[in-house]
Subunit: 434 residues, 2 copies
């Protein structure tokens, strides 16, 4: 255990007992879930929507009640800061997201925001005095629902000039509302000409941690309380459009057709095939969106639109799968005499490695707290993937029911959440005193 | 040529010259196309919508201006009658539809309504006096867009008790609006307890004729002006739902998935395969609707919905295809561990044969008017399919551009429309004097 000279008195050693207010935390999780566009038990909360604005207000209020000083950047990343007694040093940050894809659950991202605030509460209750400031981050949007851009907030914090340009100039949602207009509707981007003031410098933080549900079945199945992430898989997404001549479902003879819907059906199955052929269980691929136009029973589809998600811990292998999907799209278009009017790789990101000393701090903390744990990779991407570009990074998983996520059945037990908060709190404390 | 004693004076012989007001007819077609939910050049006009109500008003006005007495039945079939001098005899009817599937064209159905009114104008201009009354019918809805029920109006006229029950009690549209509420919104079903008063008796009409664009490429390709339909192919439609567990696109491993979207993709391709394997070019099949839930890029589809259209001139062969599609749906569900939560045959109708003497009358008329013509089958279904159950039936086709239909490119030349109107007029005159 560390001891430091604290010029302000009080204890600047690590807390000896951690007390999580589990009931309060559960109530907050339940309350936040009510800011939803779809009825319980599902949650739908889309970037810059009315429900998103209400939820942000809820979080900012909690941050204030915890004595954190709150600031927001131009796109709505929200920061709650607990100043340390050496406030000039790079801070230690922790956070996650609260946006929720359509018909998802209450815990994804939320555990790492409400849990992060509670972790700071735990430290305050124990009398802990941080050396490095501690900061909770609510990333403005992690899910790609509205603009097709995953981890929008953290990509910007990590300094993506390409994204900043696109957001200012070309990005629109499915209703053709521009990113700028949407952000302004929610109270952001006021007179902002330049998004580069959202960028953070490498070195802004000495460490970034994220607490998150596992979204997989391993911890629960193995009876473990904590998963310490060593690497985050490399995500990618692709948008595809096919176009044909359409026509009358009864009158157009089969040899004369070029059905864009059947082209899409073939491509969806090709995605599955290439993923399964990779030779590794770590390769995944999904067609989550497939839409036909005009979408009438007696009208041969003249257009089809697919959105493909594919990921792997091995970036090269994932890129080979993307290339095969592309080749399939071209071949299918040719075979079916449709046009491949769009094949756009929206994002194709490298994986990220956790910082070894942070991993060790989490392992030590788990042992000290007698919480059974293991090292593991994160198959899902998280804001941590992008924070890793500007800061040493670590992620903590807690078990969730059968690994379910992105559906209303998503569930994490209070006790597991509390354990995660404790490990987060103690690890933050160690990193703060470092 | 016939001569009959007309007690009222005037000519009850067949007209010797027919004059179609082609410009006026084209203007009416163009005007009617403006009552649309989607912008030109497409037309979308859905049963009982505001645009449908406006279009009906337009037609009723034209009927009145033509001196026809107008009546509407409880569901909105509209009748414009020209009384003959033996009004007690079964009348001769002609008509079609004006509803239009999403993003379709201006001619489908419309030619047979505006053209029918103009055919009666042609006869009036020529001094013709009908013996049997002549009646123009606007069938309330031929397209299945709103309620999934094709030829709703003519099915009822033909006396479908099952349909009448369903419409009164269970039929709802995609927004869960009941058929009764929708009809009332448009001014129909006022205090109607019983739809059986919509039923017509066999014998109500001595003949029913329908003028329609071919919706196929043959007449144009062969340089013919008139197609005389000998039979209408047997239509069927099927609704299918699959359900799986959904889940997280990044975190759920491939072997653990039961993706309802991929089940749908497989079934769509199976439909094509069974249709192509029938051994006949007359078998067609289409998946015009395929929808995924929840429809987010990073969410494995937990539900999929398909709507399948399949038809054949050979009813038995078509039924075999339906059976194979069903077997495929069951096999796919099993293989992919999803549930086949719905496999519903919405309709499965027999084909219809045209009346031989009507066919002959049309052939004779075409020859008399020096219009090159041929006998052919109708691959698309029409209200004639159901009117054939209660009346001798005949259909007239005119060429349309490249056979395009159910898309905005649908086009029929004024001259071809005028030719069709002439053949219709003269055939109606013959049948009226019969
Ligand atoms: Mn998520
Ligand atoms: Mn998340
Ligand atoms: Mn049609
Ligand atoms: Mn039609």
């Amino acid at each position: 255990l560390h001891e430091r000279n604290d010029p302000f008195g009080g204890s600047s050693s690590l807390p000896t007992s951690l007390s999580v207010d589990g009931d309060s935390l559960q109530r907050q999780i339940d309350e936040l879930s009510t800011f939803s566009d779809t009825p319980a038990p599902s949650v739908t909360r889309i970037l810059y929507s009315d429900k998103d604005v209400l939820a942000r207000r809820y979080i900012k209020n909690l941050m204030g009640l915890s004595g954190l000083s709150v600031r927001e950047d131009a796109v709505g990343n929200i920061f709650g800061r607990w100043d340390g007694y050496e406030p000039g040093l790079p801070a230690v940050a922790t956070g996650s997201h609260i946006d929720a894809i359509p018909y998802s659950g209450k815990y994804d991202g939320v555990v790492g925001v409400l849990g992060a605030i509670e972790a700071l509460n735990v430290l305050k209750r124990s009398g802990f005095r941080p050396k490095r400031s501690l900061e909770v981050i609510l990333f403005t949007s992690e899910e790609p629902t509205r603009f097709g851009i995953s981890c929008l907030g953290s990509r910007l914090l990590a300094g993506s000039k390409v994204l900043a340009e696109a957001l200012k100039k070309t990005t629109v949602d499915g209703q053709n509302i521009s990113f700028v207009d949407a952000a302004r509707y929610a109270g952001y981007m006021k007179g902002e000409d330049d998004l580069s003031n959202v960028f953070l410098n490498s070195g802004n933080y000495s460490a970034f941690l994220e607490l998150h549900i596992e979204q997989g079945p391993i911890l629960e199945a193995e009876g473990l309380s904590i998963g310490i992430v060593t690497a985050i898989a490399a995500p990618a997404s692709i948008k595809v459009d096919f176009e044909g001549n359409g026509g009358h479902a009864g009158a157009a003879l089969m040899p004369n057709r070029n059905d864009a819907g059947l082209a899409a059906a073939e491509l969806a199955l090709a995605v599955e095939k290439h993923v399964l052929d990779s030779g590794s269980i770590d390769t995944v691929g999904t067609v989550g969106i497939l839409e036909l136009h005009p979408g009438a029973i007696n009208s041969i589809p003249s257009k089809s639109h697919l959105e493909i998600d594919t990921r792997d811990i091995d970036e090269k292998r994932r890129n080979e799968v993307i290339e095969k999907i592309h080749q399939s799209a071209v071949a299918i278009a040719k075979k079916r005499s449709v046009s491949l009017t769009e094949f756009r790789i929206v994002n194709q990101d490298p994986p990220a490695l956790s910082d070894k000393s942070i991993v060790k701090a989490m392992e030590d903390t788990s042992k000290e707290l007698n919480l059974p744990h293991k090292l593991m990779i994160s198959r899902a991407y998280h804001d941590s993937l992008f924070m890793a570009r500007i800061s040493p990074m670590g992620m903590l998983f807690i078990p969730c029911f059968k690994g379910y996520s992105h559906k209303p059945e998503e569930y994490a037990a209070s006790q597991d959440i509390a354990n995660g908060v404790k490990v987060l709190a103690l690890t933050l404390a160690k990193l703060s005193l470092d």
